[in-house]
Amino acid sequence: MALRGVSLQIAPGEFVALLGANGAGKTTLLRIAALLMTPTSGYVVFPGLAQVSDGPGRNDTEVVYGNPKPSIGMVGHSTLLYDELSAAENLEFFARLYDLADARARIAHALDACGLATRSGSLVRTFSRGMRQRLAIARALLHGPRMLLLDEPAAGLDRQGLDWLGATLARLRDAGVTVIMSTHARNESLDLATRAVSLAGGRVERDSGRGGDPRPLLAALRSED
């Protein structure tokens, strides 16, 4: 029972910084948004994409206009990659699962973008933490999701990795992708945020709101030491 009474409306194109201490419920919220977890009560709705009624207490009929899954990408605590497959093989596999039309081009582009083109045939097992994180993000973006969820993506990244993360997120924001990024400490990518929501004890503590200014909330964050 990690969340209680959380109600959020996020508009397309928003860059939401999800703040809160460890255990506040950030991961749970992201997993529910990724449709990995069904809330014990309540629902998740993607207006314009599909209307998905989830939750056990539903007594009205479920109306689904489309499948929201191809529009969602997630970068979690783990890499969501197969260590014993190569970078290219991982991306090929997911390209097939998502039934992507121009798979080869997309994969080549993705590998280029995260700087792993030369290592495309190497097993992920041989990659450094930074390389794996980059590939994980590439995997999440491969199918061109309109919403990207990130759970503490900056953790364990070196300088180069952090720069790359910031650049990638900036690109996404400019492209109108909705981003929800959770973090419990300060990192530079937060400068891109258009909104900050902080969770505590499973509830929404503060929310800078749709058109509001996230900076006061962000400033309250300690830096990562």
Binding site: M1, R4, T40, P56, G57, G201, G202, R203
Partner: protein
């Protein structure tokens, strides 16, 4: 409280009457004499077991369909009562088998099915003990419970099919053909008595599970500092 005591006393009285009937009212059986009287409770325990496990099966499906916690409570309670009844059935079977037919055990269809169900539902309880997240525990044990229940007729059928190819003397009263009417009535009394005991145990176990759930809820509420949730304990309702 008074109602509970009254009901328990009633069930106890019924059980004693059933025991008395089995021991004294029922006529003596011609071949096995006194030991045959175990049969009344042996069969009654099987009926209690199958009833309990059927309730568990329904509860498992209901949980998956509705996600209301009371189905999970009912499921685990029914399985526990079922396992207890099964243990009783197996023990009485062994006690009866040795003096009556000279064998401790035989792999006939009904015994085999009962034994396998015993193993399966103990596995169910073990599984529950090893799953920590309550939601997941309820869901996964329900899936396993459904598989276990579906297996029972398969076990029975496989044993019958095997028996047609490897016939053996039928023991344990065969298919209950030609039972003396008084014996039949005593059997009914015993079955009924054990069913009421089973229901009593089931209700108690269910209440225990419900209380555990409420304690967990209260603890969570206290920890997160919210207002106290609606407690059915104070209302005394199921």
């Amino acid at each position: 409280m008074k109602a509970r005591f009254g009901i328990t006393a009633l069930v106890a009285a019924l059980l004693f009457f059933a025991g008395y009937a089995a021991l004294f009212i029922a006529p003596e059986e011609s071949t096995m004499h006194e030991i045959q009287r175990v049969f009344y409770f042996h069969v009654a325990l099987w009926s209690a077991m199958y009833t309990a496990l059927t309730i568990a099966f329904v509860a498992n499906i209901a949980w998956l369909a509705t996600r209301q916690p009371r189905w999970d409570w009912l499921g685990v309670s029914a399985v526990e009562v079922g396992v207890v009844s099964c243990t009783g059935g197996l023990i009485t079977g062994v006690l009866w088998g040795k003096p009556a037919w000279g064998i401790w055990w035989t792999w006939d269809a009904r015994l085999t099915t009962a034994f396998l169900l015993w193993l399966l539902y103990i596995a169910y309880l073990l599984l529950r003990g090893l799953l920590e997240d309550p939601q997941r525990r309820a869901t996964l044990s329900a899936v396993f419970g459904i598989f276990a229940f579906l297996d029972a007729p398969l076990v029975y059928a496989s044993n019958r099919l095997w028996r047609t190819q490897h016939p053996a003397p039928v023991v344990f009263g065969g298919d209950n053909s030609g039972l003396d009417p008084v014996m039949g009535k005593v059997l009914m009394v015993c079955i009924f008595a054990l069913l009421t005991v089973m229901i009593l145990l089931l209700v108690d176990r269910y209440r225990l599970e419900r209380m555990r759930h409420e304690v967990d809820e209260l603890r969570l509420a206290v920890e997160s500092g919210a207002a106290r949730p609606n407690s059915a304990v104070t209302k005394g309702a199921i």
